[in-house]
C-alpha cells in the first residue's frame, strides 16, 4: 500500500472502550470480549491434565516443564517491574531444589511438608544472599545474580556439602501425574493473577515507582531497600517453589539445578512474551518450552538459539508477543490522510 501522504492511526475498538468500565457491561458479547481470552487459557490449562490418554505422557511433561519455567519467568518479571534485572534465575530454582533435597534426605519428611518448607527457606536464603546488593542500583544486582549460581556451584563442589558433585538422588516422588500437573498449574495461575492484582494495589504502585523513579520514592518517605527486599522475597517464592517441585518430580537434587538453562530460559520467555505483563511472560514460557523440546537433539546449541531469540526480540519486537497481540485485540489501526503542512502535525502525533 502506498503510505505517502498518509499516517498510521491507532484507535481503541468501541467494544474495548465500553468494556473498560465494569459497570457498562450490558451484553454477553461484551462480557465475552472481556473474559474470553483469559477464561479460554485457564480452561485449556485445567482440561489438559485430563487428556493424558490423548496427548501422551510426553506432552504432559512438556506442559509441566513449561509451568516451571513460567514460574521462574514470572519471578523474573516481578523483579524487572521493580527495576531489578536478574540474570540468574537459577539461584532461586537451585535454592528451592537444594532445600527440599536436604529436608527430605536428612529428615525423611514427605513432599507435602518439604515443598512448602523449601519454598519458604529457599526464598529467605535468596533474600539474605541478595540483601547486600539491594543498597545499590544499576548493574550491580544483575551482575551479582549472574555470578551467584556459578559461585554456589563452586562452593558446593569445593565443600562437598549437600552431596557435592553427585547430588542427592532417590528423593520421594510426588503422587500422580494429573495431580502434580494440577498443583503446578494452580500455583502458576495464582502467581499470574495474584501478581497482576498485587501491582494494582497501592503497595504495587510503590514497587512500580521504584523502577520508574527511585529517588521520588525515597522523597515520598518509603524505605527503598526494605521495599526492594520484599520484592526479592516475593519473587523468590515462585522460583524456589519451581525448584522444590521439579526436584521431587525428578527425585533428584544436584548441581544441574544451578545450570545456565534455568537462568536464560525464563529470561528468554519473559522477553519473548512481553516484559511487564505477567500473563505475557507465562505465554512466552508456553511458546519457548515446546520449541526447546523440539530442539532437544541440538544439545547445547539450544542455548545459542535462545540467545538469538532474545536479541532478535529485544531489537525487533521489544514489547513482546503478548503486548503486541493485546494491542491488536484492543485497537484498530488505519491509515488516515495527512493534512497540509503535515510535518509539525506528524511530530505532534509521534510525540503524543
Amino acid at each position: 500500500m502506498n503510505e505517502a501522504g498518509y499516517r498510521r492511526e491507532r484507535l481503541d475498538r468501541g467494544i474495548k472502550v465500553r468494556t473498560d468500565d465494569i459497570f457498562a457491561l450490558s451484553s454477553y458479547r461484551e462480557i465475552l470480549y472481556l473474559t474470553l481470552p483469559r477464561l479460554a487459557a485457564i480452561a485449556a490449562l485445567l482440561v489438559f491434565p485430563l487428556l493424558k490418554g490423548v496427548t501422551g505422557i510426553y506432552w504432559q511433561n512438556v506442559v509441566l516443564t513449561a509451568c516451571t519455567i513460567a514460574l521462574l519467568a514470572l519471578s523474573w518479571d516481578l523483579l524487572h517491574s521493580v527495576g531489578l534485572v536478574s540474570l540468574g534465575q537459577a539461584i532461586f530454582f537451585g535454592a528451592g531444589a537444594y532445600a527440599t533435597g536436604f529436608f527430605s534426605q536428612h529428615f525423611g519428611w514427605p513432599p507435602l511438608v518439604t515443598i512448602p518448607l523449601a519454598t519458604a527457606v529457599g526464598a529467605i536464603f535468596c533474600t539474605v544472599l541478595l540483601y547486600p546488593v539491594l543498597r545499590l542500583r544499576g548493574i550491580y544486582f544483575a551482575l551479582i545474580t549472574f555470578a551467584m549460581p556459578l559461585l554456589l556451584t563452586r562452593v558446593i563442589e569445593a565443600t562437598k556439602i549437600l552431596g557435592g558433585n553427585v547430588g542427592m538422588s532417590g528423593l520421594p516422588p510426588l503422587s500422580d501425574t494429573p495431580l502434580d500437573l494440577y498443583l503446578i498449574i494452580t500455583v502458576m495461575l495464582i502467581c499470574v493473577f495474584g501478581f497482576r492484582r498485587l501491582f494494582d494495589t497501592d503497595y504495587g504502585l510503590v514497587l512500580k515507582a521504584i523502577r520508574e523513579n527511585d529517588r521520588s520514592v525515597m522523597a515520598a518517605g518509603f524505605d527503598l531497600q526494605w521495599y526492594r527486599t520484599q520484592a526479592v522475597f516475593i519473587a523468590a517464592i515462585p522460583g524456589a517453589f519451581a525448584g522444590a517441585f521439579l526436584t521431587h518430580y525428578y527425585q533428584f537434587a544436584g548441581l544441574p539445578a544451578f545450570s545456565i538453562e534455568y537462568s536464560i530460559l525464563p529470561l528468554a520467555s519473559a522477553i519473548v512474551g512481553g516484559p511487564g505483563s505477567f500473563s505475557g511472560v507465562a505465554l512466552g514460557a508456553f511458546m519457548l518450552v515446546p520449541l526447546s523440546e523440539a530442539l532437544r537433539s541440538f544439545g547445547n546449541l539450544r542455548v545459542v538459539i535462545y540467545s538469538i531469540v532474545v536479541v532478535v526480540f529485544i531489537v525487533i519486537l521489544p514489547e513482546g508477543v503478548f503486548n503486541y497481540l493485546q494491542r491488536k485485540y484492543y485497537q484498530i489501526e488505519r491509515l488516515v490522510p495527512m493534512e497540509e503542512g503535515g510535518n509539525g502535525q506528524r511530530a505532534n502525533i509521534a510525540g503524543s
Partner: protein, 309 residues
C-alpha cells in the same frame, strides 16, 4: 579464574614455610596482573560509554579460539595471528554496537540483557562447536623460566605482568591526556553536555566497545597459554571481572589495580594454603563483604551518589 602455579595445596608439607611465603608473594603478583589484564577491557568500556559489556567472558574465549584457528588451521605466525585476532575482536565489538546495542541505547536494563545473552550465546556456541578438549591450547610467547627466591616463574607470567602494567599506563594516558579519550570520558559523565559540545555519542560508544574488545582479545592471547581453553574459563572471567569492579569501584583505574592485587594475593594464598577450588569462594566473599561494608568500592567516588540510591 585460577592460573595454577606448579604446586598444589597438598604439597605444602614438602616445602618450607619460607618458600611457601615467597611463592604466595610472587604468584599473588602474577594472579593480580592476570586479573587486571582480564578486567581492563570491561572496565574501559563501562567507564567510557556506560555499557556494561557482559559478553566479556564470551569475547575472551572467542578471541582465544580465533587465535587458535589462525595459528593452527591457517598456520599463520604468532604476531600476525595476534594482530588479526585483536582487529577482528574490535570489529566484532563495533559491529555488536551498531547492529544491536544502538537500538536499545539508554535502556540500561535492555543493554545488559542483550550483552549477557550474546555472551552466553558465544560461550555455548563454542561448547557446542567442541572447543573444550585438551587439544586447544595457545603457545607461550617466550619459553623458559627463571628462579626468584627459590620460586620458579616462567617468562610468560612475567610477560603478563609487564603487559598488564603497560596497558594500564597506556589506557590511563589515553583516557586522561588525549582528545579522544577525554571526549569518551565526557560522554560517560554527562551525555547531553557531551553532545552539545559536538561529541558523537554513537561513535564514542562504538569506539569504546571496540577498544574494550581489543584489550580482552589481547588478554586472552597473553593469559590463555598459561592454561587450557575451556568453557568454564569464560564464565569464571565474568565472576572475576565482577569481583574486581565491585571491589575497586567502577571507572577507577587505581581502584582496579588495587582490587586486582588484593584479589590476586587472596586467591594465591587460598590456592596455596587451602585448595585451588576455594579461589572462587574468595571472589564471592570479596563481593559480599565490599557490598555490605563499602558499596561504592574501595576507591569508587565518581558514581557513588547515583549508584547508591
Amino acid at each position: 579464574m585460577w592460573v595454577a602455579p606448579p604446586l598444589k595445596g597438598g604439597s605444602n608439607k614438602i616445602m618450607g614455610s619460607d618458600a611457601l611465603i615467597y611463592s604466595v608473594l610472587i604468584y599473588g603478583l602474577v594472579n593480580g596482573a592476570v586479573i587486571m589484564l582480564t578486567s581492563l577491557g570491561f572496565s574501559l568500556t563501562f567507564g567510557l560509554s556506560g555499557v556494561a559489556n557482559l559478553a566479556h567472558g564470551g569475547i575472551y574465549l572467542l578471541s582465544g579460539c580465533l587465535a587458535w584457528i589462525l595459528l593452527n588451521t591457517l598456520g599463520l605466525p604468532f604476531l600476525p595471528a595476534a594482530v588479526i585476532t585483536m582487529v577482528l575482536a574490535g570489529l566484532l565489538g563495533a559491529g555488536v554496537y551498531w547492529l544491536v546495542l544502538q537500538r536499545v541505547r539508554g535502556l540500561a536494563l535492555s543493554e545488559m540483557i542483550v550483552t549477557f545473552t550474546i555472551g552466553i550465546g558465544i560461550l555455548e556456541f563454542l561448547r557446542w562447536a567442541g572447543f573444550v578438549t585438551y587439544d586447544f591450547n595457545l603457545p607461550v610467547i617466550i619459553k623458559g623460566s627463571l628462579t626468584i627466591a627459590g620460586v620458579i616463574v616462567d617468562y610468560q607470567r612475567l610477560l603478563v605482568i609487564g603487559v598488564g602494567v603497560l596497558i594500564a599506563v597506556l589506557l590511563w594516558f589515553f583516557s586522561h591526556h588525549t582528545k579522544i579519550g577525554l571526549a569518551l570520558r565526557g560522554m560517560a559523565q554527562d551525555e547531553y553536555t557531551a553532545l552539545s559540545v559536538g561529541i558523537d555519542s554513537d561513535w564514542a560508544a562504538a569506539l569504546s566497545m571496540a577498544l574494550g574488545h581489543m584489550i580482552v582479545a589481547m588478554a586472552a592471547i597473553m593469559i590463555l597459554p598459561l592454561g587450557l581453553i575451556s568453557i568454564n574459563v569464560g564464565y569464571d572471567v565474568l565472576t572475576m571481572v565482577l569481583a574486581v569492579t565491585i571491589l575497586g569501584g567502577l571507572e577507577s583505574t587505581a581502584g582496579l589495580t588495587l582490587a586486582s592485587l588484593i584479589l590476586g594475593y587472596a586467591t594465591a594464598a587460598t590456592g596455596m594454603y587451602l585448595n585451588p577450588q576455594w579461589t572462587q569462594v574468595v571472589y564471592l566473599a570479596a563481593i559480599v563483604l565490599v557490598l555490605a561494608l563499602r558499596p561504592s568500592g574501595l576507591l569508587g567516588k565518581f558514581k557513588e551518589l547515583e549508584e547508591r540510591v
